[in-house]
Symmetry: C3
Subunit: 301 residues, 3 copies
């Protein structure tokens, strides 16, 4: 499947695609790239499309550098309750609420391609949790202020952060990051391990992430990446069961064109030319896990 991104009518994001690398740019500079308007829904839509577009191998998520921040988080002018506006909550009550940050997190998390956040500015709240944590890699400006102020604003952890932070960094760091409600810079010991590369200037972040993306797009197998991501995040409860899963994935991949090409290119000491795509070559027993429907189904007609 291929997608015409220009035809999607996006207003708050920009999308480009070149050589297997898609670039998604948060583009609300006049609103300080707040997490508002149609931006959240556009991110959900575009990551669902990028997941299925067979041309895409790597996605870089960055911000228009004209904005004063990578993402300024939620717009608090009307208070937290405003997050319920125009949602089923109005007619169905609080149980109908689905955290918008969590929707964004899951759309990125579900993307079977390599995802990279290029954090070229400050980030607040969901600008950290929703746009950065679900990515496979994070590049950041050394001067970026990274704020997780939830408990100092009267609300709890959101956007999957209470799931992702303990798994990404361990509970000691996750607890400290979330319970202090603090603002951190990338060199904080509490963030050690979260950022793949820290760049000295705002301008240096995107080129570094792009070069990294281009190498991975050219030299990694789409099916191998998707399978490895699935094994990492949808693994079994015991090493024995994981061994069965890994063996099954490996058996199919080892018989694939990409595996033959990978071994041959190694033998011939030349660059690989992987051509297998998820839409055709991914084993048909993925997913092996039970998908969970998180949609709120209205009870009133």
């Amino acid at each position: 499947m291929t997608v015409d991104y220009g035809a999607q009518g996006f207003t708050d994001i920009l999308v480009s695609l070149d050589g297997g690398v898609a670039v998604v740019t948060l583009n609300r500079p006049k609103q300080r790239n707040t997490f508002a308007g149609t931006m959240p829904q556009e991110i959900v839509t575009v990551f669902d499309l990028l997941d299925r577009d067979d041309r895409v191998r790597v996605v870089v998520l960055t911000a228009n550098p004209a904005a004063p921040a990578f993402c300024s988080g939620a717009d608090l002018n009307n208070g937290w309750k405003s997050m319920f506006a125009h949602s089923p909550v109005e007619t169905e009550g609080l149980r109908a609420h689905r955290d918008t940050g969590g929707k964004v997190t899951m759309a990125i998390f579900r993307c079977r391609k390599i995802t990279i956040a290029a954090v070229n500015g400050h980030a607040v709240g969901v600008g950290v949790t929703g746009f950065q944590l679900p990515c496979d890699f994070r590049f950041v400006w050394a001067g970026a202020k990274l704020a997780l102020p939830f408990v100092r604003r009267g609300i709890s952890a959101e956007a999957g952060s209470s799931y992702l932070l303990p798994r990404l960094l361990g509970h000691a760091k996750a607890t400290a990051l979330l319970l202090t409600g603090g603002t951190f810079t990338p060199d904080s010991p509490l963030l050690q391990g979260l950022y793949h590369q820290i760049l000295p200037t705002r301008d240096a972040v995107f080129p570094a992430a792009l070069a990294f993306a281009q190498d991975l797009a050219a030299n990694t197998s789409q099916t191998a990446i998707a399978s490895t991501k699935a094994l990492l995040w949808h693994g079994a409860d015991s090493i024995e069961e994981q061994h069965i899963l890994e063996s099954r994935v490996l058996a199919e991949l080892a018989s694939s064109g990409d595996a033959a090409e990978g071994a041959l290119a190694f033998k011939e000491r030349r660059p690989v030319r992987f051509v297998d795509i998820l839409g055709k070559n991914l084993t048909d027993w993925v997913p092996w896990w039970r998908p969970v429907d998180v949609t709120y189904h209205r009870t009133k007609l």
Copy 2:
């Protein structure tokens, strides 16, 4: 609910409360603060009370500096079997044993307020595992000797350490800490991430922890803290289920007084004045998890 701590008859600990910060002091200086006497049971009792006392926002656990150690661990003079004395083990056998260190760990772990260990001296065995690991934050003296000698004394990991260490720091560090049976100083790479702050002198530990506690007590929401702690430690098995949990917690909190105050204070650029309390304002579907009864129920009448 409020508690009169002076009326509890504690003999091995001191308890004070000021401005939302409770301080619990291990106070067996003549016995080198060994984990013996009534100290363990008093810690269990006081953390159960602090959990429910609506005035308490942060708990600091420290030691009387007159003691030569923060906690010298178990008293080994009568061997490990002495841990069964005056317990159901005498009449019901070994299966009736409940590790006293584990009881302490769980009492601190269950406390829904922010918990901070101010480790102003050496710590041995349960002095690390029972008094430090279940806390949200740990402050420590740079010169503290931290010993985990279990396998060198013929016994296995206790006080929840085999559960908490892998989650706090990962299995690589947890394995190294427990299988070497070693003694470490806070700058050990194996402890990297465990201590929030390392102070140069014994005397500097408590003031640093107290100042940190006072900031959190003044500026964080009790309901937001309790909800975030519950999400971190009682999370779901998939990110989708966690999204549902987070959304439900967030919906109730976003409608709360503390959330309104948090957004308003931000808008007005002034300090917050949170007033919501767990006894009245915590959503009534917490806990969402299945509590486990660990009490031993005697079979003989």
Copy 3:
């Protein structure tokens, strides 16, 4: 139980035993210590034996220094499909595949003694995942090149690495290590915490690991080590259930000869002399978990 290792007919490994420390040496120097020939099966066999040999307290896995690498990984000359040769896959199809690297990982993982990888050379693929990750400790040469090239060769994570890496180091590092398909040196931030000690020369690795092994063999209890390893890797889903497990293990150990000796030696300020062995003194309710049979059972007669 004791084993005559010389009678096992091993051709690709060497095995020695002295003072409770077994040394297993990968010994295919002419084939660059590739993961081929009978080496994988010999490793599975020997770790099963070392697990049950009551004389063994610590196992060091290292390589013949005459080889140019600790382990050069799979032999890619015939492509990945060659991994199916002489296996049930030929008659039963891909679902009959069991990853050989995973078999090695699980044999080491199941060993109830302390296991140490002494990585005295470069390591590729399964030379990292199968021979290093399942060990309790890893010693490494500072100049070692450690390659995880799977996704650049068209295949997915194997040898239990998708299970072990997230648990050992957290998902942030595990994702970066596996999705880049990169080659790392031990000082890489992505490997921080994985190696217990980094040595300046190839020659320094084994002696350092051996001295570490000898200390642990002399001063730790076999039953305490086996119990602690079981608690760390076969723990419960909640801290309360883990408390029950820990209490049960601790009750039996605290009544054991090794625990009495551990307390007495401490009191008398002398070295311990532990004599309890797994074959006789390990509590009879280990394992408490459900063992998983991963063998492929042929459907055709």
